[in-house]
Symmetry: D2
Subunit: 375 residues, 4 copies
């Protein structure tokens, strides 16, 4: 049973390979009546496009999305929305160098182990290019969430050892540097750090952080489909992610209960709120009304230009030197993917949560009516 489907109520199925004809996604379950244009989707795709700075691969593709179904007169119809991006830079290269070689840190070996063979061109289905489908679908989810007053924002929190300083944290700044760091000074240092690594033919890891604002309390499905559990799966499903933290994350393991619990108070309107947010906006797997905050630790790009030891699929040891230009860090291009996956997760759980209470059922379908004579 294959795994290219995500979500239940807001469900997406992605398809496509790095050097096939294209990449796409079908969204099944987007409610009818959402205003949606090609621009809504292209805008998000443009943020993950390669070739935009010296820190991203030079593959130069416009990644233009086409909406092939599901929209009529500017609104979603409730039927499947098919989106596709045709590959335009997949010129037939000479793949003989990597055809039979297992690149370290890549999925070459494991795809062979699972399927018996693989599309070796540019990583095939395991390429980062696969995330185009996620981002395209995520743009629809973000539009839906926006109409409910929910905003999602992801950014680069750290590049190697260089981290955004909480005192200098300014979300607007993330749009001013290609690393998407909301701290100008850290971005500068990180750039220099990356240049150095690139000069050594090496790559660097980092951390993306994501915030969800405006999510009402009550979203998430205990006991297995908790909001944090679903987010963790969504984020770990992105290539290269090695850790997921919600709220205080790892620090919670070193804390005391007295410091980690968030005290409840009433705000000026008499509404329940939490004085602190160590929990990251989720209690018992259900949103608590505070901002949801999580982080993803992402490994260094596995494609590096320096010589590596490896083996071939027919069992010979060999040295490998990966040609071409690769992103020296995954994080800046991954932030928009993190945002997309968070949006898909939250949209799905919001729709699923509509069946939580009889009073909501009655709001849609009428009733309750007296059930005088039982069954």
């Amino acid at each position: 049973m294959a795994g290219s489907t995500f979500g239940d109520s807001f469900r997406v199925m992605t398809w496509g390979e790095s050097h096939g004809k294209g990449i796409g996604v079908v969204v099944d379950g987007c409610p009818a009546g959402l205003p949606l244009s090609r621009t809504d989707i292209q805008a998000l795709l443009d943020r993950r496009r390669p070739g935009q700075s010296r820190f991203t691969t030079q593959r130069d593709e416009a990644d233009e999305v086409e909406i092939v179904s599901g929209i009529f007169e500017g609104r979603t119809t409730g039927t499947p929305i098919s989106l596709e991006v045709r590959n335009t830079d997949q010129r037939s290269k000479d793949y003989s160098a990597i055809k039979d070689v297992y690149r370290p840190g890549h999925a070459d070996m494991t795809f062979d182990a699972k399927y018996g063979f693989r599309d070796y061109r540019g990583g095939g289905r395991s390429s980062g290019r696969e995330t185009i489908g996620r981002v395209a679908a995520g743009a629809i989810a973000l539009k839906l969430l926006g109409s409910l007053g929910i905003r999602i924002c992801a950014y680069t929190k750290s590049v190697g050892p260089i981290t955004v300083d909480p005192e200098r944290f300014d979300l607007k700044k993330m749009w001013e540097n290609r690393l998407y760091m909301p701290d100008e000074q850290a971005a500068g240092e990180a750039g220099a750090y990356l240049e150095e690594a690139m000069a050594r033919k090496d790559s660097v890891g980092g951390v993306a952080e994501c915030m969800i604002f405006g999510l009402p309390a009550g979203v998430g499905e205990p006991v297995f489909d908790k909001l944090d559990a679903c987010l963790a799966k969504a984020i770990l499903s992105i290539g290269g992610v090695k850790a997921f933290e919600i709220g205080d994350g790892l620090q919670a393991a070193k804390a005391f209960g007295s410091g980690n619990n968030d005290p409840f108070r009433l705000d000026e309107n008499g509404q329940v709120h939490k004085e602190t947010n160590h929990a990251g906006g989720i209690l018992g797997g259900i949103s608590d009304g505070a901002p949801v905050i999580f982080r993803a630790a992402i490994k260094p790009t596995p494609s590096i230009a320096s010589v590596q030891k490896t083996v071939t699929r027919d069992g010979r040891e060999q040295e490998l030197e990966i040609k071409g230009r690769h992103d020296p860090i995954i994080v800046p291009r991954a932030v928009v993917v993190v945002e997309a996956m968070a949006a898909l997760t939250v949209a799905d759980l919001l729709l699923r949560g509509m069946t939580s209470r009889m009073e909501w059922i009655h709001k849609i379908y009428g009733g309750p009516y007296e059930d005088r004579d039982g069954e």
Copy 2:
């Protein structure tokens, strides 16, 4: 759409509340012919049972499991296996103190937000007692995996700031202390640390680590149901878990590609293996044949005896003093739950993976036959 179902091919549905009549689980999809006895399940349940040391709650229940269906003449029949544990210590207490109060760090407020009301007795469905169903089902998954030569082992890696020393690491030692720490000295220090916190009416967080041995390469379903993604969801769905790391986890974010990539080599039998295991046994979301290693960071027990600020469901601020004896740390009792969830995840993906290749289909059903005249 509710969330008490886990898994697709090896699917479980859990039910039950802390102070209802009992807790249980139905396992739908366990293959026919697996030898299984009540003892297989009870043995695992006994490891999560309360009242076993000064570091666990005094609720004293035998938690005896009954197999109600699905087994015939000592083997699974392929039909649903229903397991249940009746609650015996749910004497009708006076809940008036917590009935209307939102305990900080608990799901009281969020359950109300989601469902409109809640079973407040002992946390109801959000109680840690819910994990009985997971452990009971996990015992079946472990039995299945054992017959394939796959072993899973979880233990306490750290208690607050006290961590197992890699040099003293000895798995056998974990059975000699009630904290399940595979390092005698660390266990001693951790015990003292806990005593101190308890004296201050406080609680402590920690980290559980889990290893999966013998898993063949090729397990996991790109692109969304990757092995690490599914494990992350499984582990984050356990109450109190705030972070998940696979392999080097957070450290990978600070590493260079040259150091983080695991070089492939041939072993003495000519088999591909990795010289290191920074990846934690997973590449591209598929097992690579090396041990799978992951960690869960778990917050301090939210139930603490010291006075806390909170509010009531009808909007009054109030101070709360939680009575009774509670575990000062969740981790030691959670390790068996981590093991169970890992087993459920791996069993499900192993079964799902059987359809990955035509040659495996033919192994079961015969063929391939020439398809002379096509469709």
Copy 3:
């Protein structure tokens, strides 16, 4: 991947065998706040209970249901509802006569082919007793539907060649005969017909019909989870059902379009309605507001007392004489199962349909808010 789960939003998992410890079901996804008592469920179960007339098996069990979880203070909590009925008449009989024999018309041979062996006691999981779980869960669905003003009623339409006369059709009459036929005269003739068959050690087939009143227009999920498609699956999943018809059913195949189309008109309130209902209340897989009407053709009871030719599992031909008393017809006891399966199907699709429109999302979660600055 096993098949004991039904439904997505209103999801049930059934378990249990004829001669095991019991039969049960877990309902995951019933919205919170539905008033529900043990009596609601027992009342429906009593209608499928054996031993109530000369036309049903003499197995005499009270089939008392226990609600083990999911209800608090008389209402559903939104968490899983576990229901179970313990078997009380499963005394250890001598099964040596049928242990190795494949009873014609039964699933003995196919269970062996699928699972490699089977629980042969009383048919094990393939026994009609399995439907207890369906009926128990169906009672909850009926209660939910009742609160929305939706009623479901199934009855025996024909016994062998004897059919209810439309001119004498009177739903109230079905409660006055044990065959649940809404036509006194037909019931009398059918009784005589059955007596005759029983005297010949034979059994008889028949047809159940079901009506769903009050279902609003708009329920059903094109293109695969259409209301009629889901009903067909639900009904064919009941043991012994060999055909499903919606509306005019088979007759539609002989009709002309001019006669089969239902003309739309306005009623006195200016509401759209159909002058006729050949479609059976469903157009394009979605309810159209007219009553939903469908039929299930059910085969004769396969357990007959006369001598039959068969084989054993180890490959010997043998004659078989099935001992004991069996229902001479399945239909009258199946009607309540048909009702239950219809209720489970409709409840699930109603809940699923809540996400069809943005305006319904906004009714629950607020908005729409202007999305001024796009993504």
Copy 4:
């Protein structure tokens, strides 16, 4: 939760509207290593293409399929296969005549009731053109089944009152007439019958029958996902189908048990077989090794040229005269859709069934190994 997904292990998601840009499907879960070419798919699509005879609509489109992903070097890779057919004849017509009118027998009214509005061009998503995705995916399933020695064949069994004579039944003949009737004489009479109806501006219903040969015993998942239940859903999900019969179908309701039971015997090789096949190849929801035989009753084409009474979406009564040329009968073009849906159902259940037995698990993954020390 939308319904454009079918299948679990062999899962398809279809998309597209009659007069949008195109129609397509993504197949997620086809095992790796199946030889597959564009021709395999186009050949099946050509059979459902319009404009091929005087009994089909004149919409003249080549319906050329493109394989956009999932195939490498002539074989499936195990990753999603995206197929699409671009619409070429969807010239912008004047839809003002039907834009606001509810066509009797169509889904116009119910789509409005469900989604609040609809794509009215040519029926949008509810058009028969939607089945292109089913047929394209079905071609892959048929190829997979063919490699296992399983064949599926559907044909027209009756047109209005004219039925294939069992004595003249000859499968080869179905390829010689455009009605796909395996009886030359019946085909001739049916043609005349259709001409007459067309002259009266009317349409005709009929019955499609389908046979599945070579299916091994043991396929189907009790208790809800029985083979016949899944087939029933698959077939009823095709637009216009009003009844489903397996084996003797409705006739079983009139039979006696002694006549309806299929006696088991041993064949010349000592294998169990059934002397008759009233059951239609399925016992207890599991294939029994005999050919699976089922029928679908299909209503007359709802689009007829004669004047009909109807209403508009804004509540006015109106007469409707549907322009243009429409198929006078659905059945001949539906047979290939029936075949496709049967193939998708059987492929899915075959893959799902691989996890039924521990011995099959061990065949793929090795073992069983002794489980010496507990779990």
